[in-house]
Symmetry: D2
Subunit: 318 residues, 4 copies
């Protein structure tokens, strides 16, 4: 384990760069064991060999390796933004009337089945729960507001919705329609059904790069304070709840293993991105579109595992 904090200035950056580069090389040989999300034509088109990572420290230092500027769609990572916005708009009591806080234990193939609804969706980081949250958001803000908030937290005004991915996913959203109707039956869909699904699908189709995720993650690491300005941009409780749920439920049916092996609050998306937080210290964005059988980015997990071990980032590492 390298105590990078003991290295100063330029050496620090150069050493850091080397380790990030190594993490990419560590991951690369394993990409062929997976494949890009093929149930959405637009997602299947992406080059499976892409790999990138950015780290943003609370102090502002930022370092990247690989395809850190390649854009990909948020997909399930939007669930973290939506959760935070909803918590800050309505508070946790109202939000948790619609969704639970428990890991679902559902395999990837059923990650959005109705089986999850004994009373309400298990948590806001599965599809059913996120549709309930999106529906709530439609009653409070417009999608343009949502997009602006994402741009603001990622400090990237160029972030936009990928309309062709949105169209492709909406055209293949039978399962989400099924979930939305079931939510409606249970009085857990508070907005209009069609509008809720469009809002949700659009938010999944927001284009970001690894760097954007790292910037946002660094604000989660700081507890909601923008490190550049010192201003609070997310409430403390929303950040705490989001990080707790990311730790227990952030990687579908691979959440438990990621918690054991990498030990960071994180959220993956089938676009290939993973957002991870080293609490009090830094945010990470990783990208690699080749997915494992749980729907998680093979490359991103390997990069994070490498870095976590190298830098001792595991929350329970010592």
């Amino acid at each position: 384990m390298i105590n990078i904090n003991l290295i100063e200035g330029e050496d620090y950056m150069s050493e850091y760069q080397t380790i990030l580069d190594q993490s990419i090389e560590h991951a690369r040989p394993h990409l062929k064991s997976g494949k890009t999300a093929d149930y959405i034509p637009e997602l299947a088109k992406v080059d499976p060999e892409l790999l990138g990572v950015t780290v943003v420290e609370l102090g502002g230092r930022e370092i990247s390796s690989g395809n850190a500027d390649s854009y990909f769609t948020l997909q399930s990572i939007e669930k973290v933004f939506a959760l935070i916005f909803a918590l800050d708009l309505v508070g946790e009591d109202t939000l948790f009337e619609l969704v639970g806080m428990e890991p679902s234990g559902a395999p990837f193939s059923e990650l959005a089945t109705l089986g999850e609804f004994s009373e309400k969706p298990s948590n806001p980081l599965i599809n059913a729960g996120a549709i309930a949250v999106s529906s709530l958001l439609t009653t409070l803000i417009s999608f343009d507001d949502f997009l602006d908030k994402v741009r603001s937290l990622c400090k990237n005004p160029k972030i936009s919705c990928n309309d062709s991915v949105y169209a492709s996913e909406f055209a293949h959203s039978e399962r989400n329609h099924s979930l939305a109707w079931e939510l409606k039956r249970m009085k857990l869909l508070v907005g209009d059904l069609d509008e809720s699904l469009r809002f949700y699908t659009r938010s999944c189709a927001i284009n970001v790069c690894a760097r954007d995720l790292a910037v946002f993650a660094s604000t989660l690491a700081s507890g909601g304070i923008d490190c550049d300005t010192g201003e609070r941009v997310i409430s403390k409780s929303a950040v705490r709840i989001a990080k707790s749920l990311m730790f227990t439920c952030g990687l579908y049916d691979g959440s438990g293993e990621f918690a054991v092996r990498v030990g960071l609050p994180a959220k993956s998306g089938v676009g290939g991105g993973i957002l991870a937080v080293v609490n009090h210290r830094l945010g990470i964005g990783a990208f690699g579109p080749s997915l494992d059988r749980n729907g998680n980015s093979i490359g991103s997990i390997l990069i994070l595992e490498y870095l976590s071990e190298k830098f001792g980032w595991h929350i329970f590492s010592h």
Copy 2:
């Protein structure tokens, strides 16, 4: 939030004592909403009004409130000891061939159903997983060895097995027998079936008090180092794995909510105990036999929630 670390010496201890006492009083009014574990006659006999807590800091300071010396049986808390002993004896690769690492999402009423076995038990902290681990242990150590290791980690030579609880539970262990046979069918039960179940049931019936749990938890907080002697008594990786799994799966179907609200690696047992870890800082043992519908101690959760908030212990609190 109180920064107790800024208070020195006797004042520190007196302030600490006051807050622990308050946590007990905070919990007491809620005990009547639950009941003691009634499926085992011996467990149903316990006074539901008991409440106790001990905190042991890494530096060695120890402070208690309420019935911190009342003995109760480990029940599911034995799963943490068994996991650690097994990891240190066979290593993680061998262990995780028998059990998974994922939260099961199973409600309390089904916490041990066969439904959990698509391939192997979801994790070592549910009954099915713990029986597999116990079976493995029977091939490596005797139950007396197990008990000695528990005594040693809790630094209490008086810890013993409650034979009447053991007898009562073994006489009501039809579900565990059912699970063990299913494990055997799947070649996941490596020891003798009857011996494995007796070992498991006996380990659940080990009598401890809140203080014992706090002592053990403090060693988990230190990453496996006995703070009195400076010696490593548990391997670093076993402690990391145990704390990670406790965080994601330690409180049955209440694990997710506990992670969000209290934010500590912990493990509950239907005897009423909860073991919790404030990483790098201290260990906690709490006790209160009145259980909620998830099978978790109502009093212990409320004590921990109170202390976590008061002292800012939540792992993602800031």
Copy 3:
């Protein structure tokens, strides 16, 4: 057991009438143990004390007791009509690509869950299966055609759709929408989704009386021959398939017990009707809107059980 066939002419009819009257009196005291379908406001309004039965023999003799002329909606009984029409339009090979032939074993509360879809709906007599069949029908005939066919088979031109029940049910059809979207995802919904659900819901809302069901059932008893005209009006294979499935799956989660105790191919609806067939001999329509926990008419089952025992109708009675 009465060998009614040995009694001739007027005596026969009078004896028959007496037994039908007795069956009604046998059922009446038990109605209070159930309640009308309350999830649809329009269905909840019906008088729970109504009870009626008609028997139509192949020779044309017809006899009724109680409220045999009270109209009620077909509800799930429409599934038998839809199945027969679809079989006669596309043949069994095409139909059974969309639905299976197996009893689902699903309890009433889940009678339409997605859990039934490992590959396709278990059978055409559960909601999911019937929606798939209705969707197929929308590509072949209009709803007016469907209604005309029902009128024709029941020999009652006054049969019509109860528009307020249709409107009420369509406004509460979230679960059916959810099922339809899931069917669409699995490429099992061949028609337009909205049109399919409207067709299905409308067919459930067709108003019939016990006599209408008995007339239709008598044609099933004859193997598809209209006994008045001697003409074949349903194909032999469609009748065989319908009666087989009615025997194994006709009464939701009460199908097995009904097969053991009453022993007739039958189909119930939450409107309170049951259609039953004494093969080669007669058709029966029974009505009583008070439902048991399986969603079956308490009165209709008791009437049929009484008559089956009295007349030795059980298919395996001797």
Copy 4:
């Protein structure tokens, strides 16, 4: 369809023989699509090309084709004997406190899972239900009594238990042990657990030939009367219940399709036998050890389908 009843004497027998021979030839080419039960070493050894059938008419005429004298083990077909004996010993009210009457809808791979136990096993023709019935029988009769009753109903004193199959199956009965413990937990196992499982496993290992099954089935066809002696040997209600349950649940997850396509009360076993009843007319025993994915004999089903169509035996055929 051949109206065999119009053919007299020797011609009748010769015509019948021809059709039975044809049924064997019809089935033979399809045997290679399946395989013998391979989870029990002793069962896997059987020649998969064996095929045999016997028909015993109520009048006493008997005709066979193929390997009608080859012995095989009853396996699940014992469930029909056990059900009948239990019904005649304790009555239906007592029996149905232990097991239900509903088709389970469980696929073959789960045919004996605990998932079936919401309250009690779905029906007496699945493993869990049959173990409960066997346990009840151990409190009433010895296994030798059971065997004698089987011999008597099959009119073959040479029927015996295949001890090596019994030993092989008992050594691989982990799942049944698991089920038995779960039954015990639910107070549905009234006898000693080990004795119950031995009784059950032994009864599954009883060696019979197709002819034996046909003789027994002919008594079921007659409603419980031994046609040779005119004596009642099974109660009318036990026969009615057995035939009803065989029709709805007799062929595991292929029960519904068999009801639609063949239309006879029947029970299959993984030994390759199927027992079927043409009510009021005759009994059939068929044998062919190559099994389909549902665990049913491919050859026996094809023979029965051929004969049912040829002779118009389907209970709802016209």
